[in-house]
């Protein structure tokens, strides 16, 4: 059965992409804002819930502390989820680009 977090929501997707490097919660929000060119501004409750959830599913894990804040990073499992999502999105993109020529064949 499909995992309940798949396909990834925009929030989850950006957080996982941001956590390919170790970051604490607030830095995740800043990075996501940058990665999305300002389009995705995570609020406190959304970020807290998402990190809690991703951690629970083992897609990210705490890897240490920076000052008093917990630092998280993507796990192996999280990486493989991103690969799956990448393949799914690449397929959709290919349909955008090649749909007309494919139909003609």
């Amino acid at each position: 059965m499909k995992h309940k977090l798949l396909p990834l929501s925009e929030t989850m997707h950006y957080i996982l992409l941001a956590l390919r490097e170790p970051l604490h919660g607030y830095a995740v929000m800043q990075k996501v804002e940058k990665l999305s060119n300002g389009a995705v501004k995570l609020a406190a409750g959304t970020l807290y819930g998402a990190i809690d959830n991703l951690n629970k599913h083992g897609w990210i894990e705490p890897v240490g502390e920076s000052g008093r804040r917990k630092v998280y990073m993507l796990t192996e499992e999280g990486s493989s989820i991103l690969k799956l999502e990448q393949a799914r999105l690449l397929h959709i993109l290919s349909l955008y680009e090649g749909s007309e020529s494919n139909e003609e064949v």
């Binding site: 929030t11 501004k41 609020a43 406190a44 409750g45 959304t46 970020l47 819930g49």
Partner: protein, 190 residues
């Protein structure tokens, strides 16, 4: 300034609190008995309600720190096992605690469960009361006539209310459940 109020509806409580803040106050404490403490301020604050189940000390610390990083401050309030958490900050362009549909939906889901549990518990308590006494209406009253009946009736009103209180609160909490359910449903996946 202290104000007393009791809410069974999360959205109404949030609305009422924000109405108070708009009058130039900020909230400093909320007690278990429904006493909200405010102090005068010349800044403009916003307040948001969150719902969290029981959090261990460690998890609560992490929860609190995450919100504080975003400029929210935690308002002390009664929270033994789980329940409403109150967050306040100076108003700016980031006044929400939920920025996507999924997390908002999750919030309403938690409110739904909470109201459902409270409603069912109250219904059960009412059942126990009625099983014991029947629908409360003093039997002695039927023997009285005219003004004596009405005097007796008025004297009985407090008892009438008291024994029906669980059912009355159950009605409020069911309405709260329905509202949370409606919001939850409206936010579901397209």
């Amino acid at each position: 300034m202290k104000k007393f109020n009791i809410f069974f509806d999360f959205e109404k409580e949030e609305q009422w609190l924000n109405d108070q803040l708009q009058k130039g106050y900020r909230c400093t404490n909320i007690s278990a008995l429904g006493i909200y403490t405010f102090e005068k301020t010349d800044k403009s604050y916003v307040l948001r309600l969150d719902y969290q189940d029981y959090l261990s000390k460690e998890r609560f610390k992490h929860y609190k720190e995450t919100y504080e990083d975003f400029g929210w401050s935690y308002i002390n309030s009664p929270c033994w096992l789980g329940g409403t958490r109150y967050w306040q900050k100076e108003g700016d362009n980031k006044n929400v605690i939920f920025s996507d549909r999924q997390s908002k939906r999750n919030y309403y889901r938690k409110l739904m469960y909470f109201s459902a549990v409270v409603s069912v518990m109250l219904l059960f308590i009412s059942y126990l009361i009625y099983q014991d006494t029947g629908f409360y209406f003093a039997e002695g009253l039927s023997g009285l006539s005219g003004s004596l009946f009405w005097i007796g009736f008025i004297l009985e009103i407090p008892f009438l209310l008291l024994s029906n209180l669980p059912l009355i609160i159950c009605a409020f909490s069911s309405i709260s459940f329905y509202k949370a359910y409606r919001n939850y449903w409206m936010l579901k996946e397209a």
